[in-house]
């Protein structure tokens, strides 16, 4: 069995080569840059100045706060809705593929294109959403142009766009559960609830862990949907700014790559910690 060593590395070789070249090297470079100041073409070492800068920058903290809130809210909610929908489709519905196709559609479009549409739907004056809310005599906030609503809007949009991927993956996992498990449970008189909690969920644990990891990582990297939703801006008054927005802005617009990379490093550490936490949690759940 020890000969596996060489073989394993051989199989991993293409991945490792590409990853080293196009992921690891740039990251190391980025890490180095976080200790440098100046523009991309003339960098000088400044030690921890960039870190000091971002820690004193309220904008950075707003970005981090928004990102964290977004991740904490949109990921579990999105996942819960996805699980619910996937389960309904899987368990209750005849025309599975019809619904599955439907729910997969958002994944097919570019966020940019669909963001435009959402901007219209969310529009405070004449958006479809507020039209609906008003006709139901519900409060109709200004989703897009009120800074206080920005994050809420981003979260809603984020949940909407996360459903597609989650549902498709979950459906795959659900199909992979041995149908015997359910027939046996049926035989023992298990109710729908029993089956869901005692069989489906435990069997889905690995998939949910996978999705959770993906979603959390994705949530921390949120950028495009904000960009699309607010027409290239991080919401009115930058109220919806996110970590990557901050990074991109510092890098491309302001032209201080060092600061951007320092922020990247901090973001990376936060994601690392969140993922670590999440895995710990899932392990606990998996064991029970």
């Amino acid at each position: 069995m020890k000969t596996n060593q060489k073989k394993a590395w051989l199989f991993l070789a293409p991945t490792i080569i590409f990853v080293t070249l196009f992921s690891i090297y740039p990251i190391l470079r980025a890490f180095g840059m976080s200790f440098q100041s100046g523009s991309l073409i003339d960098l000088t070492w400044t030690g921890f100045n960039n870190y000091k800068y971002i820690f004193n920058d309220p904008e950075f903290w707003l970005a981090i706060k928004n990102t964290l809130l977004y991740a904490i809210i949109s990921v579990p909610v999105g996942l819960a809705i996805s699980i619910m929908l996937a389960w309904i489709i899987f368990d209750k519905v005849k025309h599975k593929s019809l619904f599955e196709t439907t729910f997969f559609m958002p994944y097919v479009t570019s966020t940019i294109a669909i963001g435009i549409v959402f901007r219209y739907i969310f529009n405070g004056d004449y958006g479809m959403l507020n039209f609906l809310l008003r006709s139901l005599h519900l409060p109709a906030p200004d989703w897009i142009d009120d800074p206080a609503m920005s994050l809420t809007t981003i979260i809603i949009f984020g949940i909407w766009s996360s459903l597609a991927f989650n549902i498709v993956i979950l459906m795959g996992a659900l199909r992979n559960i041995d149908p015997n498990f359910y027939t046996i449970a049926d035989m023992y008189g298990a109710s729908g609830k029993d089956k869901f909690w005692k069989i489906t969920m435990p069997e889905l644990v690995p998939t949910i862990a996978f999705l959770l990891t993906m979603n959390i990582i994705g949530a921390f990297k949120i950028y495009t949907s904000v960009y699309a939703l607010f027409n290239g801006q991080a919401g009115v008054g930058n109220s919806g700014t996110t970590a990557v927005f901050y990074i991109y802005n510092k890098f491309q617009t302001v032209g201080t790559p060092g600061v951007a990379m320092a922020a990247t490093v901090i973001l990376f550490l936060i994601i690392l910690f969140a993922t670590f936490l999440q895995r710990k949690m899932m392990k606990k759940i998996g064991e029970n």
């Binding site: 596996n4 060593q5 073989k7 394993a8 991993l12 293409p14 590409f18 990853v19 070249l21 196009f22 992921s23 690891i24 090297y25 740039p26 990251i27 470079r29 980025a30 309904i88 489709i89 209750k92 519905v93 599975k96 593929s97 619904f99 599955e100 439907t102 729910f103 997969f104 559609m105 994944y107 097919v108 479009t109 570019s110 966020t111 940019i112 294109a113 669909i114 435009i116 549409v117 959402f118 219209y120 739907i121 004449y126 795959g172 199909r175 992979n176 041995d178 729908g192 690995p206 998939t207 990891t213 993906m214 990582i217 950028y223 990557v244 990074i247 990247t264 973001l267 990376f268 993922t275």
Partner: protein
């Protein structure tokens, strides 16, 4: 012999609400692509265009070489899909079925790499490609995406659900790992591979910033780059944007409809006993 119960009806209601929420933007996008400019910006909003402006599509095609974009996109998306699928397949296999020193480290590194926002490394990759002299080439367009940790990670979780005795049996039968991958793993994971393939193809299809960076000429650009052809520093032609968006989405949707069956069926139970 299932009776229709309240729960089922309730489920259907939820499903329909969400299905509507999901589909509505698409309907709006398609209809919007057939409106005239005034309709897209009118108050109250127009849903059904008064007159279908098919001419929008003509304008879209006139604005940017969409046919060429289309070709480029299909080409690069296919290449990245095939190669990255191949690489992730091998990688995921090694991670799942082989035992070797450093597996934990590899796993950790890979997972950490997933956490790095692409925006933070894209300029270095650009630099690398530039140094390789691959700017404005198809190779330059696809090179950094020929492997995907994400897909590898997904496949790992997929392969993990195939019973280990199947691998053991293959070993006993004298199959090399290569045999195992192609004769057993691939046929047994068809649906997983299709899913990954589709995801990969879609992300290739939707790539925007990278092709813009590494190519200089219109003839090398991809579909999504065409989307920005309708915005200027003074405003944007929404109806054309929507038409173009429709244009980029529809082929993928068709593709999905075609392969949906493959993705959905062909899910064989992995183990028969035990």
């Amino acid at each position: 012999m299932k009776r229709i119960r309240l729960g089922v009806i309730f489920s259907y209601i939820i499903l329909f609400i969400f299905a509507f929420i999901t589909v509505f933007p698409f309907i709006y996008m398609i209809l919007g692509g057939l409106m005239n400019f005034q309709e897209t910006t009118s108050i109250p909003p127009t849903l059904i265009p008064h007159h279908f402006e098919w001419g929008n599509y003509a304008k879209v095609f006139a604005r940017a070489p969409f046919a060429r974009y289309f070709f480029n996109t299909v080409l690069t998306a296919s290449i990245t899909t095939l190669v990255s699928l191949f690489n992730s397949l091998l990688g995921a296999f090694a991670m799942v079925n082989l035992r070797f020193k450093g597996k934990g480290v590899v796993q950790m590194v890979m997972l950490s790499l997933l956490m790095v926002p692409g925006e933070a490394i894209i300029f270095t990759n650009y630099n690398t490609i530039a140094h390789m002299g691959l700017l404005n080439t198809y190779i330059g367009l696809v090179l950094p995406f020929l492997t995907s940790i994400f897909y590898m990670y997904y496949l790992q979780s997929y392969f993990g659900s195939i019973s280990e005795t199947i691998y053991k049996a293959a070993m006993i039968d004298g199959a090399s790992d290569w045999d195992y991958i192609w004769k057993i793993l691939v046929p047994m994971s068809k649906s997983g591979l299709f899913t990954v393939g589709l995801l990969s193809f879609i992300s290739g299809w939707n790539s925007f910033l990278w092709p813009l960076l590494v190519t200089n000429e219109d003839t090398m650009r991809l579909l999504n780059n065409g989307l920005s052809a309708f915005a200027s520093d003074a405003g944007s032609e929404t109806q054309l944007q929507l038409a173009a968006a429709t244009l980029t989405v529809v082929p993928i949707l068709i593709l999905y409809f075609i392969f949906r069956k493959q993705i959905i069926k062909g899910v064989v139970r992995n183990d028969l006993k035990g």
